[in-house]
Amino acid sequence: MAKFDVAVTVRLQSEVNDPQGLTIQSAVSTLGFCGISNVRAGKVIEFQIDASSIDHAKQTVEQLSNNLLSNPVIEDFEYDISIATSDTS
């Protein structure tokens, strides 16, 4: 068994309107920052997972992301996975 660090990033699909991103964009302009466009907001979910191999870990991460962490109707996800640097359990 090995322990892996995982960070799943969930974003609204590009064709889905993003009210949060638009609001942040508006604040960016109000604050006077120039040249910043196409702001999109998402979320990152971090966790650790025990698995016999990185492939098994990836399989579980993808199932979890499809079934719970993201809503495939409106969101896409991607993830980073690496051998855990510290065991915080």
């Binding site: 309107n17 009210p19 638009l22 719970l68 962490l69 809503n71 109707v73």
Partner: protein, 228 residues
């Protein structure tokens, strides 16, 4: 008529719904806790509004996996009328019992106000007794009520007569300014293909007695009672 109101951790319209069904509509009503799985024997199941599981992750995302949703799915397939109000609608969407998803309101803010609704179809057990020429008034109270579905799904909903309520102005026109949250096609409520599951963002249970400011919500209870 026997009704039940589901209760999740974080539901906060469960008592309003119970009161509306029990007192205003005169239905024999019971609560059903989220850990139960058998919902058989009821003529109506209400998935109430609120903030189930704190709305964490996405509204309804955690509640859809509660044990009681097994019973909801079973009863949905058996044809039992199921009404999801506000967070209840969000839960039914997350569970895939109804198509589409909810986004944050386009204004990002929480919207709480009375809205005007146009009934788009009377071919459901919830709206069979409603005169389509009369507009309805009900309150909304939500931060994520911006209904989204792909163009294909929206066209399919329209084609199959599954759009049940639309936000509209006082003349019955579904305009941008009468759309309180940015919902695609001004959609306020939809039903499933077999027409026994209705999800809606407005709160009929908060418009079931004059003292609350309106009774249009009772038209749904009347339709359900007459259908039995």
């Amino acid at each position: 008529m026997k009704a039940c109101v589901l209760v999740f951790p974080g539901s906060n319209c469960d008592r309003d719904s119970y009161h509306a069904l029990n007192v205003a509509a005169g239905f024999e009503t019971q609560y059903r806790w989220h850990e139960e799985t058998d919902l058989s024997g009821f003529d109506l199941i209400v998935v109430p509004g609120g903030f189930s599981y704190g709305d964490h992750l996405r509204s309804g995302a955690i509640a859809r996996y509660a044990p009681v949703m097994k019973g909801v799915s079973e009863e949905a397939s058996k044809g039992t009328p199921i009404l999801g109000i506000c967070n209840g609608f969000q839960i039914l969407l997350e569970a895939g019992i109804l198509p589409g998803a909810m986004l944050r309101n386009t204004q990002v803010s929480f919207r709480h106000q009375w809205v005007t609704l146009r009934t788009e179809t009377t071919s459901t057990p919830f709206t069979s007794n409603i005169d389509r020429s009369c507009l309805l008034r009900m309150p909304i109270a939500h931060g994520e009520g911006n209904y989204f579905a792909s163009k294909d799904i929206t066209e399919q909903l329209q084609h199959n007569d599954q759009i049940v309520f639309r936000y509209c102005d006082s003349e019955g026109n579904a305009t941008d300014s009468s759309n309180p949250n940015g919902s695609v096609s001004n959609i306020a409520g939809i039903c499933n293909a077999t027409r026994n599951v209705l999800g809606m963002m407005p709160h009929p249970e908060r418009a079931s007695e004059l003292v609350l400011g309106g009774t249009d919500g009772s038209l749904l209870w009347g339709s359900l009672a007459e259908g039995l």
